[in-house]
């Protein structure tokens, strides 16, 4: 579960969330990623480092360019974690409700 913490930390900052949203549209070069932000390039580099550590982005060389792309798997893991609880309780309650429905049916038929 500890691997979720870097992901949550990475996406807790608005700039990094904006970077993810931008990269979700497709890979981009570093300068294109930095363009919409008023912050220094150095600051964008730091944000990208954190996103990289969380596994949310990867860099690929294409010819002379380096393209940065978004990786969704870590986010899916975090979302899946919450969904697991939701599924667990829904399944338990379905079984519980069914138990009483069966019991009632049995009582009626006796």
């Amino acid at each position: 579960m500890d691997r979720l913490t870097p992901v949550l930390t990475a996406i807790s900052h608005p700039t990094r969330r904006a970077i993810i949203a931008q990269l979700a549209n497709g890979p981009a070069r570093f300068l294109d990623v930095a363009k919409p932000f008023d912050t220094a390039l150095n600051s964008v580099t730091k944000h990208l480092k954190l996103l990289g550590r969380a596994g949310l982005i990867e860099r690929r060389r294409r010819g002379r360019e380096v393209l940065i792309s978004f990786r969704g798997e870590p986010l899916r893991e975090v979302a899946g974690w919450v969904h697991e609880y939701e599924s667990f309780w829904n399944e338990r309650l379905d079984q519980f409700e069914q138990y009483f429905r069966n019991k009632k049916k049995k009582e009626k038929s006796e």
Partner: protein
């Protein structure tokens, strides 16, 4: 019905059970009954009273908690800790209200993003739950897996 509040990461499930609140309340803590929280276990210790502790070993994973409210037949509240709560105490509240000839049962599991994780991560949770579909589009259901038999 299921509802997820993105502010507190709270899961709410409701069911109408065809029995009286007393019957449903008593059944909920009987591990022999399918669908109850401690049904199927390798080891189970339950002390159902305020400040009573419970321990549930399920598929090799220990789960612990403490009852904080125990009001028959209206409400049971207990903490829930497991490997998957990242060491945080989450809270499970179950209420039983008479509804016609049956019982409206509401289960709220909350506190996923409390204290240790929450402050820095609250926005992160909102982002995940609010924008996940937007980012992943049709792949959204990939994270919505069925977990029958898994430890939580």
């Amino acid at each position: 019905m299921t509802n997820k509040s993105v502010e507190n990461i709270e899961i709410t499930c409701e069911r109408t059970i065809p029995a009286s609140p007393d019957e449903v309340f008593d059944a909920w803590l009987d591990p022999k009954i399918p669908g109850t929280p401690f049904h199927e276990n390798e080891k189970l210790i339950v002390n159902p009273m305020v400040d009573g502790l419970w321990y549930w070993l399920f598929r090799g994973q220990p789960h612990y908690g403490r009852f904080t409210e125990f009001r028959r037949p209206g409400r049971i509240r207990h903490t829930w800790m497991s490997r998957k709560t990242l060491g945080e105490e989450t809270m499970v509240t179950v209420t039983f209200q008479k509804k016609g000839e049956g019982t409206l049962m509401t289960l709220v599991h909350s506190g996923f993003a409390s204290d240790g994780m929450a402050q820095a991560h609250e926005k992160a949770w909102n982002f995940i739950l609010g924008n996940f579909a937007e980012i992943f589009g049709s792949e959204r259901t990939a994270g919505n897996k069925t977990v029958t038999g898994q430890s939580i």
